[in-house]
């Protein structure tokens, strides 16, 4: 489903290289964890996948279902089925969450040539999805993410993911700032989305989240490239030995 080949990317503004020859393949139905220390390029990778123009790809390619997505803007990538759950979801004053959800859903449907949802169908869909995530409808009347707690923001991200039904989900440090109860709710939400035609990339610093979202593959990211790949036991090994040892072994 996703194939990243020899990817090099840098910060557009100052040319700092962050991703440095990264290779990664994720199959449909797979849950892949990408783990790495601070500064290894985890968040950059998620932004480059989503198409943020603060980053420039200088070499290599990203193939999604066999086609390069480098020339697609973030909206086109999202409509094609890519979803990034942000580590720090933006607060956008003045845009009501419900309005945002409706526009996003319908723009994606439009881009795919589907009928727009009617308002009653839309509300029904949101109500169902919100219920399972413990998101109050009252919260969705507020401006997008404004004044939401850390946990509410992450739940709102998962709610968006549930509604938009992407094919490739990228979760960027979704566990940061969550207490254990919130973590479970979020993990349940992600697990409910697991299916043979959907892939999930879980980007995280700690092994903790992987107890709840059990990965098929684990990849260690260091200095902008994948240095080691294994199964879920690699995450436990990282937890036990720390990044320094594993990265030193791999080098």
């Amino acid at each position: 489903m996703l194939e990243i080949k020899n990817l090099h990317a840098r910060i557009a503004e100052d040319g700092t290289e962050i991703i440095n020859g990264l290779n990664l393949t994720v199959k449909a139905g797979e849950v892949a964890a990408i783990m790495g220390p601070n500064g290894s390029g985890k968040s950059t990778l998620s932004y480059v996948l989503a198409g943020r123009d603060d980053y420039e790809v200088t070499e290599g390619d990203i193939f999604y279902n066999g086609e390069s997505i480098l020339d697609m803007d973030p909206a086109e990538r999202a409509s094609a089925g890519l979803f990034l759950a942000f580590q720090y979801p933006m607060e956008i004053p003045g845009v009501a969450t419900m309005q945002f959800l409706k526009v996003a859903l319908n723009e994606q449907r439009k881009a795919r040539g589907e009928e727009e949802l009617t308002t009653p169908d839309f509300i029904k869909k949101v109500r169902e999805a919100a219920g399972t995530l413990g998101v109050e409808m009252e919260m969705l009347k507020r401006p997008l993410n404004v004044g939401f707690s850390g946990g509410e923001k992450k739940r709102a991200e998962i709610l968006q993911m549930k509604l938009l039904e992407p094919k490739l989900c990228v979760l960027d440090e979704t566990d940061s700032g969550l207490d254990i109860d919130a973590l479970k709710i979020v993990a349940d939400g992600v697990n409910a989305l697991r299916s043979p035609d959907r892939a999930v990339i879980v980007i995280t610093h700690y092994q903790r989240l992987l107890e709840y979202i059990v990965p098929d593959t684990v990849h260690v990211l260091s200095k902008g490239r994948i240095v080691k790949t294994g199964d879920k036991s690699l995450a436990l090994e990282l937890e036990a030995k720390g990044y320094a040892d594993i990265i030193a072994e791999a080098a």
Binding site: P74, A78, F86, M90, G94, V95, A104, E107
Partner: protein
């Protein structure tokens, strides 16, 4: 100001000024009014000749060089076909002035209503035109010289006017000069829409409104300026708030080529409160100036002023906000903010906040920001599949709608938001 008055005219009259004086000669005998009105009109034109149209050397016009910008003085037109527009809110009482001539007049229970043209003619109980006080008052001078009609409306003490009252100044090119004189009796309540609209023909429109809100009365006054792309609009609202009077004044500018809307407000009674809001959506080569002078004259008065601007194309915007707190006006609380979203490199917005405080126990603050669309916000929306154009539109609307939604009237909010969305669709 004195210097300006005594200085000899440095250059011959501009084409606009010449046309103004010439047309007054042709028109004056057709304009309504008794002998006093004739004199006042004549004095106004003499004042314009003496002071000339203001340039940026006149402090109050520093960012709007009227002599340069008012580059047309179209002929009067009598062959006007413009009809009334649907009111902004469908249940409104409607007054319609077409090119300054009364075309429709509502009857409202609890209100005394008269045409200003009739009141100018009356020798007893009529209204007087005042000659302009100084060189600053170009809007007043032009309106005094040429005003043809308007609505004189007085709301009885304690009357609650349930349906909104809409004044429509509509034009179809040429000249349109109106004046509305409104008194809201003690304890009364009313909501007004002061709407200026018209075709894309060149027009010079002016409006003077004198609005007095008596003790404990409560009003909402919405100025909707949505004229065609070739309109010059000169507006002046004088607002007096007596004891415990409350006013929400909301200005929506999203039309015209040259716009100057002045507000001269005074809190003259304790407990008076003004909520001042303005949105200026300006594109292409529009020049739009909102100038507020607010006097807190007595103790315990409050006001908030929020201005939101969206600038595209080569448009230039101006907000001058002057708050004066008299020595007696202790415990005044005034908060002013002017925020601009600049969508093009060629547009600009000048903000001049001024606080003149002579009392020592007051809370007054002002702030101004100019920003572009937040790229992080844009990315977030696009990452959810919202196209760049729609995402930008959502963010701009959010910026403007935030103050529209304070209005606490769903029908009014919807009416304004639809127009904002239309404007963005055309200019965003």
């Amino acid at each position: 100001m004195a210097a300006t008055m005594t200085k000899p005219a440095e250059a011959p009259l501009t084409a606009t000024e010449t046309a103004l004086v010439a047309q007054f000669g042709d028109r004056s005998s057709h304009l309504p009014g008794n002998a006093d009105a004739v004199m006042a009109r004549d004095k106004a034109v003499q004042a314009i000749k003496a002071h000339r149209l203001p340039t940026r050397k006149v402090e109050a016009w520093h960012y709007t060089d009227l002599r340069r910008l008012l580059n047309q003085f179209p002929d009067w037109r009598s062959d006007v076909a413009a009809g009334a527009a649907d009111p902004l809110l469908e249940d409104a009482h409607r007054f319609v002035l077409v090119n300054g001539q009364m075309a429709e007049r509502a009857q409202i229970e609890g209100c005394q209503i008269e045409s200003v043209a009739d009141a100018l003619r009356a020798d007893v109980g009529g209204v007087a035109l005042e000659a302009p006080a100084d060189a600053d008052d170009a809007v007043g001078a032009i309106n005094t010289a040429f005003v043809t009609d308007g609505v004189r409306l007085s709301i009885a003490e304690g009357a609650h006017i349930e349906r909104p009252i809409e004044f429509q100044s509509i034009h179809d090119g040429g000249q349109a000069h109106t004046r509305n004189l409104i008194t809201v009796g003690a304890g009364a309540k009313a909501s007004f829409i002061d709407r200026h609209l018209g075709s894309d023909e060149a027009v010079l429109a002016s409006n003077v409104t004198e609005l007095t809100v008596r003790e404990g009365a409560e009003i909402r006054w919405i100025i909707v300026q949505e004229q065609g792309a070739a309109a010059s609009h000169l507006g002046k609202l004088t607002l007096t708030l007596e004891k415990d009077a409350k006013a929400t004044l909301f200005i929506a500018n999203y039309g015209g080529k040259l716009v100057r809307q002045e507000v001269h407000a005074a809190a003259t009674g304790e407990g008076a409160d003004l909520t001042f809001r303005a949105i200026n959506l300006i594109g292409e080569r529009t020049h739009c100036d909102v100038t507020l002078e607010l006097d807190h004259l007595v103790a315990d008065t409050t006001s908030t002023e929020t201005v939101r601007n969206v600038v595209t194309g080569k448009a230039q915007g101006v907000f001058q906000g002057q708050i004066r707190v008299a020595q007696a006006a202790q415990k005044t609380d005034a908060q002013m903010a002017c925020n601009t979203l600049l969508l093009s490199d060629e547009g600009g917005f000048a903000t001049k906040p001024e606080l003149e405080i002579f009392a020592d126990d007051v809370v007054c603050a002002h702030g101004a920001t100019v920003a572009e669309i937040d790229e992080d916000h844009l990315f977030y929306l696009m990452a959810r599949g919202i196209s760049a154009k729609t995402a930008r539109g959502l963010l701009i609307e959010a910026f403007v709608d935030e103050i529209v939604e304070e209005l606490d009237d769903d029908a009014l909010i919807e009416a304004l938001e639809i127009r904002i969305a239309d404007w963005l669709e055309a200019h965003g």
